[in-house]
């Protein structure tokens, strides 16, 4: 039976994906361990960027950030009355690991694809705003949605703002943490070129042809 152009590439491409998955699985435990041990540094950094983002949305809401047992504690300027004769400031706790777990996935995928070091560093830097988004909207959803009408009104986050905060939170918690690392990996590796797929981009298409010729 005559061999059609690209037949060999299908097998080669599938095997390449298989090797990528295998190498990713080998790198993942190491990357997760590194991420967990780097969490105090990374978490604080993400917290600082998140506070800047919150300040853009609602200024003077956060007065300080503290770090406690792998959790960020945002000290707000909001006053609460736990008892009639007592006044306190509202402190909101956020777990930054929920929004940064994509970093070890990204690094493992990049190492599995044998990417250059600068690409890994650039990708990690590009992940930061999305991680900060997740932390910022976790804080905002706690203040604007979950803490009751009095707190959301005091924070200036009531009404239509709480709807937008809800949407931002959904994106920051359900979509960004896992999707952005993979999207960055695709962008850096031009998935079509690396895995012989019929990617529509011209440059990656040419690269795919060269590899196909080699596979024959």
């Amino acid at each position: 039976m005559p061999k059609r152009p690209g037949d060999g590439a299908v097998t080669a491409g599938t095997a390449t994906v298989g090797r990528l998955v295998l190498r990713t699985f080998l790198w993942l435990p190491l990357c997760f361990a590194g991420w967990y041990f780097a969490a105090p540094v990374l978490g604080r950094f993400v917290g600082d960027v998140a506070a800047m983002l919150v300040d853009l949305i609602r200024s003077n809401l956060v007065s300080a950030i503290e770090w406690q047992d792998l959790h960020l504690e945002f000290v707000t300027n909001l006053r609460v009355h736990p008892e009639p004769d007592r006044v306190g400031v509202l402190v909101v706790e956020v777990n930054p690991l929920l929004y940064t777990y994509g970093l070890p996935l990204f690094v493992a995928l990049m190492l599995a694809a044998r990417a250059k070091a600068w690409m890994i560093l650039a990708g990690a830097a590009l992940l930061l705003p999305f991680q900060a988004w997740g932390v910022a909207f976790d804080l905002l959803v706690q203040l604007g949605v979950r803490s009751g009408a009095a707190v959301s009104a005091q924070a200036g986050l009531a009404g239509w703002r709480s709807e937008l905060i809800g949407l931002g939170y959904q994106l920051g918690s359900l979509v960004f943490p896992a999707l952005i690392p993979v999207a960055l990996w695709v962008a850096f590796n031009r998935a079509g070129a690396a895995f012989h797929a019929p990617w529509p981009a011209h440059k990656s298409g040419l690269s795919g042809v060269v590899r196909r010729g080699e596979a024959r």
């Binding site: 152009p5 998955v21 777990y101 949407l167 918690s173 012989h196």
Partner: protein
């Protein structure tokens, strides 16, 4: 590639917004979540008689431990991401439909494994459960989406431009 990403984002945001609406929640998300619990319970009862399913809750009747399948754990967001990636990529509607159907099966099959593994992991160690639930399985499900998408791209007919140059290279 920029066009692909732009199309992908537009479709993704549209599908995610639709997912959050009450009609889609009532017609698709909640029934699917309940079905996921029943499927997991059905598989578990093959080897473990101490399992009960109530709505979106899976419980061990031996020790009372229970897990609740919430948004983000039912595989719907992962399925939406995969569908958006396939719809944004240049392919025929038949190829897209086949890819999305196969992808949904692949994602939900792994999601059943996730639910079952977390059900037992939680009974063994809550700290391990939290780690696997919040970080590890999230990453693995997304890796599954990426692999399915890459394999689906392999099944598409090569770009005609590539075939032309390919033939020239073979000469």
């Amino acid at each position: 590639m920029a066009r692909f990403f732009l199309t992908f984002v537009v479709i993704l945001v549209g599908l995610l917004a639709a997912e959050l609406t009450p009609p889609v929640q009532d017609a698709v998300v909640v029934p699917w979540t309940n079905a996921l619990v029943r499927i997991s319970a059905g598989l578990l009862t093959l080897a473990d008689s101490h399992v009960a399913a109530f709505g979106k809750i899976l419980q061990s009747t031996a020790n009372g431990f229970a897990i609740s399948i919430e948004a983000g754990c039912n595989g719907v967001e992962a399925a939406i991401i995969l569908a958006a990636a396939m719809l944004a990529f240049p392919a025929s509607w038949k190829q897209r439909a086949a890819g999305i159907a196969a992808g949904l099966v692949a994602i939900q099959a792994l999601n059943v494994v996730r639910v079952i593994s977390l059900f037992y992991l939680g009974q063994w160690n809550l700290r391990a459960f939290e780690w696997a639930h919040l970080y590890l399985w999230q990453a693995l499900i997304m890796l599954d989406v990426l692999v399915v998408w890459l394999l689906w791209m392999r099944t598409l007919a090569p770009d005609p431009r590539m075939r032309t140059v390919d033939a020239e290279a073979a000469r």
